[in-house]
């Protein structure tokens, strides 16, 4: 049986920078075959220099990536994606500005052969608070934020520091403390958005200098209580954004742990896998010691 195809949903209201972020990821795919599903091909959906070939419903992109428009039939488009040869490494759904992302994840969860890799919501630092008060769209914007596992607060270059701090404080209130990553021009470390980047060897290190993020690999050699460990990794105070890796359970079985924001999941893994958890977190908060300590407590 092949491993399920991971699916990430990128959401956010119109103008929050979803398309820019998608182009940024395509530009930095680094060998990972991404399949992007968009509601519709906008006039400038994909940067032209990235396009290799174009068909009605599918655009082939340099490096083995593809982009498809799904219109009204997301389920059908996903099923088509899984049939591509070679199969993509990761599917990314750019949801429409009015879509409720958790509903999309719900649909994905019904399909065999796919697994959800979290919801990343973009928010425009300049306008998000105003959008959230919009007469018509306000509640939709708030529902999108509430669905987020990770929020990318975009366009921070357009606001002053006081506005930024206030926006982050407000977002914290709305979302009860979800992880917020700052960004301008949709530029964010790809590992934040897609778990597949986290463990991609060729990408290795974060190559965005300005990033306030850090990556590390922690190896827990002793058996641990897997669920308890996963739960603790998702704790707000740890400064962890994403984690993926393998540990040995108290009963001696290999387990896969996946964490995105506060969401965590564990599953059985083949015995042959080597222990080690790749962690992505906030520089200065994330610490090797803390994680190892959690590992020890959980053992």
């Amino acid at each position: 049986m092949t491993a399920p195809l991971p699916v990430t949903v990128i959401g956010g209201y119109l103008g929050s920078g979803k398309t820019t972020l998608v182009n940024h990821l395509l530009r930095n795919a680094n060998g990972l075959r991404l399949a992007i599903l968009v509601n519709e091909f906008g006039e400038l959906a994909i940067d032209e220099d990235l396009i290799e070939a174009e068909d009605d419903d599918i655009i082939s992109i340099a490096g083995g990536c593809v982009c498809c428009s799904f219109g009204s039939d997301l389920t059908g488009a996903l099923i088509d994606m899984a049939k591509l040869n070679p199969q993509p490494d990761h599917v990314l759904i750019e949801s429409s500005g009015v879509a409720i992302p958790s509903a999309i994840v719900g649909s994905v969860s019904l399909l065999n052969g796919f697994c959800a890799d979290g919801i990343v919501i973009l928010a425009d630092a300049e306008t998000i608070q105003r959008s959230a008060c919009d007469k018509y769209m306000g509640d939709t914007v708030l529902r999108q934020l509430a669905d987020a596992n990770i929020i990318v607060l975009n366009k921070i270059d357009l606001v002053n520091k006081a506005h930024l701090l206030e926006t982050k404080r407000w977002l914290g209130q709305q979302t009860n403390g979800v992880r917020i990553i700052e960004s301008s021009h949709g530029i964010v470390a790809p590992q934040v958005v897609l778990e597949s980047f986290l463990v991609q060897k060729s990408l290795g290190v974060l190559h965005f200098e300005a990033s306030n993020l850090e990556m590390m690999t922690i190896t827990l050699r002793e058996p641990v209580d897997v669920e308890s460990l996963a739960k603790k990794l998702a704790d707000d105070n740890l400064g962890l954004i994403r984690a993926k890796g393998f540990v040995t359970s108290l009963t001696g079985q290999k387990n896969l742990i996946q964490v995105v924001g506060r969401r965590w999941e564990t599953s059985l893994a083949p015995d042959s896998t080597l222990n080690g958890i790749v962690c992505l977190g906030f520089k200065g908060v994330l610490s090797r010691q803390n994680i190892e300590k959690i590992g020890n407590v959980a053992s």
């Binding site: 119109l14 103008g15 519709e40 091909f41 219109g71 009204s72 389920t75 429409s96 500005g97 399909l111």
Partner: protein, 547 residues
């Protein structure tokens, strides 16, 4: 020599106020040459007198402004509805009032299918009339445990399936956590699937594939038969994806010599940018034929009231359900409206909740300031919950409205009790307010959601009875004459076709509804029972008995 036929009739209701009823109508080249008495018509020269309709009543061919050709396709499946309903071949299927009766009919159909793996599909189920008794997979398993079975609800938004279908779709398992998939005490799905995202993966295994809304060729022909049986000569398909293959098929089928209806398909605004859609429809408009009127757009602002996905203004849903969903953002609609107005393309917009209606009104107003278009006739479709102030705004913006009169009968009790509560339920589908405000109005069936039949639709608007027999919204009742106008000229106006159809007067298409009864004499209570003999479309005679 010119070929003129003069038809005599018991009565011809023209909808032309200058001479509301006449005894004869002359037809030449598929068009109305004259309507009057025989001595007037004879002045046009040689003619052939045709007395086929001597004992019939003629009306302008009826116009259904909001239906879906999918109705034609669905009749190949087993009818499971609560109310009696006629199929394209004229058979009236008894309504089924119990789950047992539904299962019995499914069993009868099941034994007739030879291929043991072929799916069995049913449609038009509606448990709200059966005390909301839910159909389970076990119920459908009693029909067959080995063949996949799916029954679509009348709303089109819920699908019931059996265990085999769940297995084929990979959902026959525990641990499913999805709001659209209720689980039984055993942790397995009960077999009810809510919403398109849960229906699609299983639907393909039970005969409801992804492109169900796109009617196939046989479906289009069957749809047209229903038109003849209900007196309809012009009908909309609201809306279609209109891919190349679909357009070719529609052009081919409607172009057949004996195709009896004029079809007006609207391009759905979804899955493409406003510019792409407008550009496409400008091209489609150039390909339009007399019987396939391409060149209009339908946008969807929100969902449905009974599905709690319509967008409501304060105080929201009566039962406290959270507000519904937007299907299109105001910014996208604004761009669509501007581009379409600029290109002279008409847009119909689906709104159900009053907040969605408000959003459309507020979005169209600035677009019209940018692109003044006095005759745009942009139409609000359904628009069920609009209040008087919103109708006044529609008037100010020169908008039209097409109200869902049938809904009142089928779901009015539900709206009163559950979705919007008594006060707002009384104002739903406010036909009288629309007319008194001066908003051009049509009324519709939304077939297959409710059965095609403009006389039933007119009856609904005149009587405002609900399924339980209550009159709901006395104040919003309209007279028979206004209702007959709505199903002819009223609907034609919303399609920019009132210069060609909708009344019997010189120069218009020879499109008639041929009736056994006189709708102006039969009485308000019986309007729905007007017996239709058939139609004349573009001068061609179609008898329902000979389809």
């Amino acid at each position: 020599m010119v070929d003129t036929t003069i038809y005599s009739a018991r009565k011809i209701i023209t909808m032309n106020p200058a001479r509301p009823t006449v005894s004869h109508v002359a037809v030449r080249d598929g068009k109305i040459l004259a309507a009057g008495d025989l001595s007037e018509l004879e002045t046009w020269g040689d003619y052939k007198l045709d007395e086929t309709f001597a004992d019939k009543v003629l009306m302008p061919g009826l116009v259904e402004g909001h239906a879906h050709t999918m109705e034609g396709t669905l009749w190949r499946y087993v009818y499971c509805g609560y109310f009696d309903r006629g199929d394209p071949n004229g058979k009236v299927w008894d309504g089924l009032q119990t789950i047992e009766a539904i299962l019995e009919r499914l069993k009868e159909a099941e034994v007739q299918i030879d291929d043991p793996d072929a799916p069995l599909s049913g449609w038009s189920l509606d448990p709200i009339y059966m005390d909301n008794t839910r159909v389970t997979r076990a119920d459908l398993d009693s029909v067959s445990a080995t063949r996949p079975i799916g029954v679509l609800h009348a709303s089109g938004h819920i699908l019931n399936v059996n265990t085999k279908a769940l297995e084929l779709g990979g959902l026959m398992k525990t641990g499913i956590n999805h709001p659209g998939i209720p689980l039984g005490a055993d942790g397995y799905p009960t077999g009810e699937l809510f919403g398109p995202e849960t229906m699609t993966p299983i639907g393909v295994h039970v005969g409801f594939n992804r492109s169900l809304t796109d009617s196939d060729e046989q479906g289009l022909r069957d749809f047209a038969k229903l038109c003849v049986r209900t007196g309809v000569t012009t009908i909309t398909d609201l809306a279609a994806r209109l891919d190349d293959e679909g357009i070719e098929a529609m052009l081919r089928v409607t172009g057949e010599d004996d195709y009896p209806a004029r079809v007006v398909p609207l391009q759905l605004f979804m899955g493409a940018t406003p510019k792409e859609i407008v550009d496409k429809v400008v091209e489609l408009k150039a390909r339009a034929t007399d019987r396939l009127r391409l060149g209009r757009i339908k946008a969807v602002a929100d969902g449905s009231i009974q599905g709690f996905s319509a967008r409501m203004r304060w105080p929201g849903y009566h039962n406290g359900a959270p507000n519904g969903l937007w299907y299109t953002a105001p910014e996208q609609l604004a761009e669509l409206y501007r581009l379409a107005l600029g290109a002279g393309i008409q847009v119909h917009t689906h709104t159900n909740g009053d907040e969605a209606t408000e959003m459309v009104l507020e979005t169209l107003a600035p677009a019209l300031r940018d692109v003044p278009s006095p005759n745009h006739r942009f139409t609000l479709q359904h628009c069920q919950l609009a209040d008087a102030a919103q109708f006044r705004k529609m008037k100010e913006l020169n908008m039209c409205v097409n109200l869902f009169a049938n809904h009142h009968f089928y779901w009015g009790d539900e709206h009163y009790r559950l979705t919007v509560g008594p006060e707002r339920a009384l104002r739903m589908n406010a036909c009288r307010t629309a007319l008194e405000t001066g908003v051009p109005m049509a009324i519709h069936s939304d077939a297959p959601v409710t059965p095609l039949g403009p006389f039933f639709t007119a009856w609904s608007a005149v009587n405002r009875l609900t399924a339980s027999g209550r009159t709901q919204g006395e104040h919003e009742k309209i007279g028979v004459e206004a209702a007959l106008y709505a199903i002819t000229l009223g609907a034609a106006y919303t399609l920019h076709l009132d210069d060609e159809i909708g009344s019997i007067e010189v120069g218009k298409k020879a499109d008639f509804a041929v009736l056994e009864d006189d709708p102006t004499e039969i009485g308000n209570d019986n309007l729905k029972d007007v017996c239709v003999w058939g139609t004349v479309q573009n001068g061609r005679i179609f008898a329902a008995s000979k389809l």
